[in-house]
Symmetry: D2
Subunit: 139 residues, 4 copies
């Protein structure tokens, strides 16, 4: 369960830019360490739903990516990891602006990796969403 | 548990266009009836992930919308309904092209509505994703 | 995606009795065919929660077993299959008496199998619970 | 989001014993504070599945109860709170013995409360299960 690869945020960003050009244009990988990752996304009006709050799919996408980044931080090469299942709870409306996801892996096995994510509107104490995500790992 | 409002696909489309201009530009609401809804989305290269398959957030967004459309079909006015929780299982890669979501509501209560969704790549028999979604209803 | 083994309800019951003596004492496997399984459980006062309704863990256990039975119906030998994740939505209170779970598999892959389940109070049209379950398969 | 009632572990135990006699016989509520709860359950051979590991429904039941206890700690009177949805990920086999659940609430609203839970085999560092649970609150 140790971080054999131990990539940091910059290394994960470079890796993702290589395997999926453009994917990091909408998100900043702020920190990756110790089976954790923190990602930040700026949400403008294109990412809002009626009522002027951040839309669900935007938060889901950020949560999904945060777990992916944490996995890459541990395994190094995991471009072909795919999401098996994602559960998200929307807890509070998120206003436009930055949203920040903090992912933590609770298991990185041979075939599956599972983590949870709390998503915050920047500067707020209470999360706007809670997610759990399982990835299938390439073998 | 009856469909008091009983909006059809065209009426749900007009309603959504009114409350959320542009939301139906990316999806076609093909059928709404009897606590069910079928939505179709054309996915081009912007909606793909590495490997050339439809990305997870695109499928989540479609599944979420399909349950929303079914709820509006039953209740009529439910613009302020918000997703409480969504669970999605990704079953198979979806190739670029059309994806079709078939949602069915299993409970429309006073405060919550819950449904499940199967998402298909157009023309295939086996689903690419399975989702369950709960909305909180305006009171 | 075909049922190579194609065990029927009686064969699945005999198989389970062998690998897990007693597991079928609380449930009857009524039907197994075509990636589906229907299980029945009689719930007496030990399985109730305050308010006199069937407790959540009882319904979860039944839903979990129904997917397992469907998998064994397809694969034959799957005693070592283990639940990876289970999501359950409780839709309505279930009165004491029989509850019936109807599981359908939507994917049986090499490593994972995923299905959904509707649970009914015997004789009612509307489900009391909706679940999705993913198992990891022995390799 | 403050703990208006602020019951501690002993008060929650007494409350549960009153509304659901016997429910605490299988679990010990070790700590309740600050929207958190820690519950311990001793699992003997009746709670095992083939392979000699703690069965899924036992872990689900414990996770569900841990969130319930945390809610009662905040709200005081919440016997009529009911689980709306529960998602559980099974991460590692749990050997027979004590299992400990640590629940944390991330939202206690007027109508819904949501928390997550990590379940540990006693004395181990890595969790055996991860769950998220949403309760509907009495109004």
């Amino acid at each position: 369960m140790t971080a054999a690869a131990g990539l940091n945020a910059q290394q994960v960003t470079e890796y993702l830019d290589e395997v999926w050009p453009g994917v990091t244009s909408s998100m900043t990988i702020e920190e990756v360490a110790d089976r954790r990752a923190r990602l930040r996304m700026h949400v403008d009006e294109n990412g809002l739903r009626p009522g002027g709050i951040v839309s669900g799919p935007v938060l889901m996408s950020l949560a999904d990516s945060a777990v992916w980044a944490a996995i890459i931080g541990v395994l190094g090469d995991a471009a072909m990891a795919v999401t098996v299942t994602l559960t998200i709870h929307f807890l509070r409306p998120a206003p436009p602006g930055d949203v920040v996801a903090e992912a933590q892996l609770h298991r990185v096995g041979r075939r599956l990796a599972t983590g949870d994510v709390l998503v915050y509107a920047d500067g707020q104490d209470e999360p706007v969403a809670l997610a759990t995500v399982t990835y299938a790992l390439p073998t």
